[in-house]
């Protein structure tokens, strides 16, 4: 699963720490999600999407490798 959090953060001009605080996780977790090392739970994905005022599928999307 890939995501556009890094881009969305740049658009909104917030840091990883800001986003982490708003969704109630550590900065390391946001970093792991951005670098595709950790796949967030549905609840966390929805919370992140809410911060950017977008639908969850606009931020998170499946990759080819997820489909097999």
């Amino acid at each position: 699963m890939k995501n556009t959090i890094r881009i969305e953060r740049a658009v909104k001009n917030i840091t990883q720490a800001d986003l982490a605080e708003q969704v109630g996780v550590s900065r390391q977790t946001i970093n792991s999600i951005e670098s595709n090392k950790y796949i967030p739970s549905t609840v966390l994905a929805l919370k992140i999407a809410r911060v950017f005022e977008k639908g969850v599928e606009e931020i998170f999307s499946l990759e080819d490798s997820d489909l097999h």
Binding site: Q16, G24, V25, S26, Q28, S32, S35, P40, S41, L44
Partner: protein, 152 residues
């Protein structure tokens, strides 16, 4: 948030204190009673009394280490989020794997009195391995987050 049955963050310091405190106490005891260990070995001469002082001392120090390791292993992180929960479970799985590999090896390659020592080792080995593995992945994660921060 669901209950996660973990100790408060600061209890890790109590745990570290207990593990460290056990070292000088054990050294002092060993220098006072060089053959003290015989007293909780039922096969040794004078041994076998369940509530003899040396045996109570042995129980006391073992409990100190165990409770200490337990508190270190199962205290909350500062921010106990879902990724930490996953890393914790992952480390626990590795600790159990390693423990059983060692158990199986010792089952095959030891016999008699030696197997008692293996049993003693198994009391604290899973906890110790869990702590080391968990802290190692946390350290690696923090380091990679930090290098990303300087890069961006």
């Amino acid at each position: 948030m669901r209950t996660n049955y973990l100790f408060p963050f600061n209890s890790r310091y109590v745990g570290i204190g207990l593990v460290l405190l056990h070292v000088p106490i054990k050294l002092l005891w060993d220098s006072l009673y060089p053959k003290g260990d015989d007293y909780h070995d039922p096969t040794a001469e004078n041994g076998g009394f369940l509530f003899s002082t040396p045996h109570l001392f042995f129980i006391g120090t073992t409990l100190m280490v165990l409770v200490g390791l337990f508190l270190i292993a199962f205290s909350k992180e500062k921010i106990e989020d879902e990724q930490i929960v996953q890393l914790r479970l992952d480390s626990l799985r590795w600790a159990i794997y390693l423990n059983y590999v060692i158990l199986l090896f010792s089952l095959v390659f030891t016999h008699g009195g030696e197997s008692n020592h293996i049993l003693m080792l198994n009391i604290w080995l899973p906890l110790l391995f869990f702590i080391l593995r968990f802290q190692w992945v946390l350290y690696k994660q923090k380091r990679s987050a930090k290098s990303d921060e300087t890069r961006l």
